[in-house]
Assembly symmetry: C2
Homo-oligomer: 326 residues x 2
DNA sequence: CTGTTAGCGCTTTCAT
DNA sequence: ATGAAAGCGCTAACAG
């Protein structure tokens, strides 16, 4: 920059002002500086600028793991949206390990990211909130928080379950089971709540024996479904915690010689890419991962500029009917 | 840091030395400084450190898009490996858009990342190499480059195709088709080359009419397979550019009333997660996305420290036999 | 072993 | 409209 100033016969400040577009400068000077800049191929150092301005135009994204397509799509949306707003994105996989998450949050803070987006955090409030205090702004995806601590993007999971139940009841399925997923999952609990509420609202009894928790992988879905359908062959509709679990359930049905959807209708949550490709293709509740990520970034930027007092966005899932339900 | 120095009754320099572990210091001083640091909760600013040292402990990762599970897994591996070496990772999706890629490369350079890993770049050498010159180190995945410009991680795609062909010939499939993928893909050309060479080496004629290019998506695979199998019902083995294309081919077989693998054996490349889940499960050539990413980072770090003159790593694909071949 | 003096490359006062 | 000086928070180079 000193070189540019010298070549253009002005001071560093003038160059700085012209390049950052702040303050006035006479057209001929502007012209001259720009000419020198492009002749010398000068490009300012983001580092030095950040040190001086205390803004990095950088944000942090914390996800459990990218090999989960759900988070991969979300991360893609975050990065695109950030990019469109001149922000770059630091990525951290934390594998649902609270210690790693804490370390990531510290590392990002040390790098002075302007804000951070955290997906499906497993940290308890007492750990999480103080860590968030170090940031100018934070947004949580799929985890509530007080509006002054962080913004929140939520999915109306209860409503999703309600749509699933309604769809099955409409198809005359009256004995519904639920593979409820991990008990410590925020989504899992909301989906369970919605399932129970929808059945009760429709006037059907809720048999707790038809609700089984399970881990969120194919194997667990398979085992849970085998167990449930084995004990209760009368079940003719199965709502699953997510598509992964549902794929396990589909496999269990095949093993048990049950036809899907004729004997048992199966429905998942999330609409991951695989849902469309398994046989039979899976009916599911779609929530746009793109919207999730894009909204998270927008909310984060709003909060950085104190533009907006909005503190929570709730995205509605949408029923996507495929072959696994009538 | 000034505060810490004052509280501990030493100079800033001493604090700096102790915290960065460089140079000597007397045990009591060390003790005292550490005490003050933790009492004050002091954490050094990466930004200032980077400005002074000219190292950011940061690397850039450029991928086409994360919603492709192949790159998502790769990105995960890169981020983990970088993290294990105290590096943080900037992520950029460039959607195979050369302009976007150029912009990303510039942005990362402006941020002074220590090195960059670029996957499946579409930039021509003349554009790419000068852009790489701005970096201390660069590694290309799936694209060759002179050793002084960038390190390279390659996949032995030709060998992969050879394994596929050998497997099919062993199963008495003698009329083999190839859905060859995009003509401008480096992998695509290598896979084609390997296919042809393997057939010739085994003494079978190569019928160019059985080799059809196609885009790398399910729809394109479907169309290409329908076309090929429609024109040439004698084809009883089908090698596909990748698993995505193969899934399209599987679907085409179903539509045409062909049994897989009895009428036609189908084999993909890459072993994406879906390959295992489609029906019939897909035989494919696995290359570990984890290894790809981890090796890329290790090579990058080696090059940063000029530790190692290794300039190319070639990963061998492995045949994974599932249900789509006998 | 520890302190002093200069920067790293930019932006921010405040003058002029 | 432009310039001079100071400083962001750290480390490098040299003393002592």
């Amino acid at each position: 920059m000193t070189d540019v100033a010298r070549e253009a016969g002005v001071s560093k400040q003038t160059v700085s002002r012209i390049l950052s577009g702040k303050g006035e400068a006479s057209p001929p000077t502007i012209e001259r500086v720009h000419e020198v800049v492009s002749r010398l191929g000068y490009r300012p150092s983001s580092l030095a600028r950040s040190l001086a301005t205390n803004r990095t135009l950088t944000l942090g994204l914390i996800v459990p793991n990218l090999s989960n397509p759900y988070f991969a799509e979300l991360a893609e949306a975050v990065e695109i949206t950030a990019w469109e707003n001149s922000y770059n994105t630091f990525l951290c996989n934390i594998f649902r390990d609270p210690e790693r998450e804490e370390a990531a949050l510290q590392a990002l803070e040390d790098r002075q990211v302007d804000g951070v987006i955290i997906c499906s955090t497993r940290l308890v409030d007492k750990k999480l909130f103080p860590l968030l205090a170090g940031y100018q702004a934070a947004v949580l995806v799929n985890r509530p928080a007080p509006g002054d601590v962080a913004g929140t993007i939520m999915i109306d999971d209860a409503r999703g379950s309600a749509l699933a139940v309604a769809h099955l009841l409409r198809a005359q399925r009256r004995v519904l089971g639920l593979l409820a997923g991990p008990p410590n999952s925020v989504s899992g609990r909301a989906r369970l709540r919605g399932f129970v509420a929808a059945l009760e609202a429709a006037g059907y009894p809720v048999d707790r024996d038809l609700i089984v928790p399970c881990r969120a992988d194919i194997e667990a879905g398979y085992e849970a479904a085998r167990g449930l359908l084995g004990r209760h062959p009368e079940v003719n509709g199965l709502v699953c915690f997510n598509d992964i679990v549902a794929i396990g359930a589909l496999r269990a049905c095949r093993t048990l010689g049950l036809e899907v959807p004729d004997d048992v209708a199966v429905i998942g949550h999330d609409d991951i890419p695989m849902a469309e490709l398994v046989t039979p293709a899976l009916t599911t509740l779609r929530v746009s991962k793109y919207d999730l990520g894009a909204n998270a970034v927008r909310m984060l930027l709003d909060r950085l500029q104190a533009r907006n007092r909005q503190t929570e966005i709730v995205l509605k899932p949408e029923l996507v009917v495929r072959e696994s339900t009538p």
